[in-house]
Symmetry: C2
Subunit: 143 residues, 2 copies
DNA sequence: ATTAATAATGATAATTATTATCAATAGGGA
DNA sequence: TCCCTATTGATAATAATTATCATTATTAAT
């Protein structure tokens, strides 16, 4: 699993410097590994340790971290983006969005390679994919 | 392929009545089968034959038609939804979004059944999925 | 046919997430 | 220290969508 210093090294290697605000946002994401947070939720958390950080800085930082692939940015419930810490060691996982409670669960299986190969035979060049399942999580599907 | 009368029958069978405005929106979608239109684009088209239809009615109608599964509602380029005519005879197809020209291409293959089965073994109940590939279309991947 | 109840419409205001603007601040060399 | 550039935070602007509400159309009942 990637450690805090790995993420910081990745930022150092980029054109961006690790300011206090950026470190705060990164810390929030590391503390919430496995969670899928909205910008507003990140702001709340960040203000616990840095009360006057602005929402614009949070958006800017999330965007930068996502462009460095430190974060994954995705749309689950519609209307707003959510961010989660990425671990580049492993291929990006897929999600099950519960249509009852809204929970987001992770799927490790990846059977899309074959499908991607088929598509590339047709002349496309595939660089990424986005797969979400919608249904009911184990807790909700009991009822 | 589903005909206009099939869609109209589906609407009749529902709680909604086929008003003039709704017929106009449906006609636009049928005329643009295979296209992925935004609400604003539907409005433009609709106003060609019904100049004073309002944007609120377009949104309301698209929402209704999607809930009846006459349309499929999806987010491709971020920020706005796009709608396309569904053909319930066939399982919903997947998409390749070109990262250069933005074109949306269709994929008929579906290799997700096995993956869905795996997930259901873990206690989930899957009712839908959403898969998008991002990359370059044949035209754009030549360069 | 007239009336009353209900549903649908269009204009427009409100909302929400996100982005742009801009003046103030911070930090890193010469 | 002084200059230069990047960053920040407050706030305005934007864009898509939804809510509100008065008006109109449709249906059902009398
Ligand atoms: Mn995840
Ligand atoms: Mn399509
Ligand atoms: Zn659930
Ligand atoms: Zn292209």
């Amino acid at each position: 699993m990637m450690q805090k210093r790995d993420y910081k090294a990745k930022l150092d290697a980029s054109q961006y410097k690790l300011t206090g605000q950026r470190a705060t946002v990164l810390d929030v994401m590391i503390k919430n590994r496995g969670q899928h947070l909205s910008a507003e939720e990140v702001l709340q958390q960040a203000r616990l340790t840095r009360p006057n950080i602005g929402i614009a800085t949070v958006y800017r930082t999330l965007e930068k971290l996502a462009s460095l692939e430190i974060l994954y940015k995705g749309m689950f419930d519609s209307g707003k983006y959510r961010y989660e810490l990425a671990d580049e060691r492993e291929h990006h996982h897929h999600h099950v969005v519960c249509m009852n409670c809204g929970s987001i669960s992770e799927i490790k299986d990846d059977l899309l390679c074959e499908l991607e190969k088929n598509i590339e035979k047709q002349g496309f060049r595939i660089v990424d994919h986005d797969l979400k399942f919608f249904g009911y999580c184990p807790a909700c599907s009991k009822f």
